[in-house]
Symmetry: C2
Subunit: 345 residues, 2 copies
């Protein structure tokens, strides 16, 4: 991802919400990453303690956190996301230190942000930012979250063909009204686009996050190969039921979270894919073995006959998570292949 950013002359500001780990953050530092993205003030505080000094909170600013915002903004370059007048006015009145402001643009996900048909509100927000010495207008931020509905390269491509123009058009209109903001940046960053698209010349910054581990969901979307997935759950087998080829594991909804997908080949409803753990990582045995059901603490794996016979109660078996961000959040720490614990927030 760092190489792709360099080729495109865009800044890589990776999203750290997937791993939320100071130690893993250092791996990014080794790839010359200096600026990061997070999704809450709490994460921003955590990474600021780890010497990250330029952090964008890619979530509409929660004005109730003004004290935390002021504390952070005193010490680091903190960038906030604004998408409405109320929040901006509140910041204007209560900020005691300079913050960077991104305006959130809705490029079709319809979650938050101002759309291309709300240009006058966008311009009026910029006017208000411009009038306030604590507010520093940086640019436009978008998350093309609708790529998560994509299934394969062509779908990703199609979305990628429409949303850049929305952003560059708004940028042009802003510069027309505010020539002094000719250097405003466009920040984008969904993992599917960043993984599969090559041309980011139209943007200034990319913020992918999930690619640190990838997962089964991103595989189904088409972002990565199964062999790119870099995180798996290790679960003890506590029961076997031959009549239904089921291995019961200690590994339930409190561990995996409850993200679910349909397997593109078998059409099974899957909460994860079974892998066999080894010293060097894991191997995927077949497409038939999957995590089929979750209770609070139990997981039910449906596995091939061969796998069923080979595994005993008390053995450890691996599961690739559907959504690594959520599973990692549930688990709280990682263990690497040498058995060393890697801490999370």
């Amino acid at each position: 991802m760092a190489a792709k950013a360099k080729r495109n002359h865009v800044e890589l500001r990776p999203h750290f919400k997937t791993h939320v780990s100071l130690e893993i953050g250092e791996w990014f530092r080794a790839a010359e990453v200096e600026k990061i993205t997070v999704s809450s003030l709490k994460m921003a505080e955590y990474f600021a303690l780890g010497d990250w000094n330029d952090i964008t909170v890619a979530f509409p600013v929660n004005i109730r956190e003004i004290d935390r915002i002021n504390s952070l903004a005193k010490n680091i370059q903190l960038n906030l996301l604004v998408e409405n007048e109320t929040a901006l006015e509140y910041l204007s009145q209560h900020l005691r230190h300079k913050v960077g402001i991104f305006i959130k643009i809705d490029v079709g996900t319809n979650r938050t942000g101002l759309g291309p048909n709300q240009l006058s509100r966008i311009l009026s927000l910029i006017q208000n930012i411009d009038n306030d010495s604590h507010l520093d207008f940086i640019g436009l931020l978008a998350h093309a979250g609708h790529t998560y509905g994509a299934r394969g390269l062509r779908d990703i491509q199609q979305i990628h063909e429409t949303y850049p123009k929305i952003l560059t058009d708004i940028k042009t209109a802003i510069i027309h009204s505010f020539p002094s903001y000719s250097k405003l940046i466009i920040s984008v960053g969904d993992t599917p686009s960043c993984s599969r698209m090559e041309d980011f010349g139209w943007a200034d910054e990319i913020r992918p996050g999930n690619y640190v581990f990838y997962d089964v969901m991103q595989w189904i979307i088409g972002s990565n190969k199964l062999s790119d997935i870099a995180v798996a759950m290790a679960c003890p087998i506590v029961a076997k039921h031959k009549d239904r080829n089921a291995l019961i594991i200690h590994g339930g909804a409190v561990h995996f979270a409850r993200d679910v997908m349909y397997h593109p080949f078998t059409n099974h409803k899957i909460y994860g894919l079974v892998v066999e753990l080894s010293e060097k990582g894991w191997n995927r045995p077949d497409h038939k073995s999957y995590l089929a059901k979750l209770s609070q603490e139990h997981g039910t794996l449906i596995v091939s006959d061969e796998l069923f016979n080979r595994y005993s109660i008390g053995d450890i078996i691996g599961v690739l998570p559907i959504h690594s961000c959520m599973t990692a959040d549930c688990m709280g720490t990682y263990m690497d292949l040498e058995g060393r614990i890697i801490e999370r927030m």
Copy 2:
């Protein structure tokens, strides 16, 4: 629930996996509860530190936790769940202290346990328990988890009419082979049955847990009224989008978990129901306002016009969770109506 247990002359051994809080545990102690159920060794250790001395871990024993089992069994009456020969043999070989053993019976949920057609395996397990001085056979434990598919009293009743006989038949067969176990107990405990059924004369112990808070899922199943729900999420509003009557909250899948149901009246897919918070608790404004979408950190509430207009960015709004066990697990602590924090494990 304590009164119902008394009326039926059965023991109430509530499941503490929903609240997982020493302080809330004390509220049960006030209702004369002395024995509890948990779903992991970790929870058992936590409650043992809080002076609970008779704990059933209602999860098939994970033999890899033998050291933790031995440490706990040294100090408290620890009851474990066995459903296969491998785990029992391992316990036989490695236990250094006495534990109570329940045999897990599958009464139709098809998750774990031995079914009524596996009587010879059940009897042979009991023979092996009987031969080991560290193993103390207590009885049969079942979880009629298929009541979670129920929609209304009649469904719950129907399930309740079939599974008791499975257990009493197995009990009779065991006593026939082992007259010395005439006092073996039958332990059951899904929240829907325990909430709506009256006759538990055929059982010896009930283990409901979710009823401490209830939730929207249990309301849809038919266990409780909406006004019985005793836990809500308080979420700040960070954005408003009039074109789709959406209030965006900081409250996503990492906070709520991703349990989802269909609203029985409106048929909307809901991740929670909107309530208005007040000093004394909350009120439900209407059936139209619900949590419609979750991202990792964002939640999208679709609300009535009236509610949309009344709420501003920065306000706090309430959401009743679909599955309180999961939401409480995600959040980690509670706040009571006086603003006091109640700790969880």
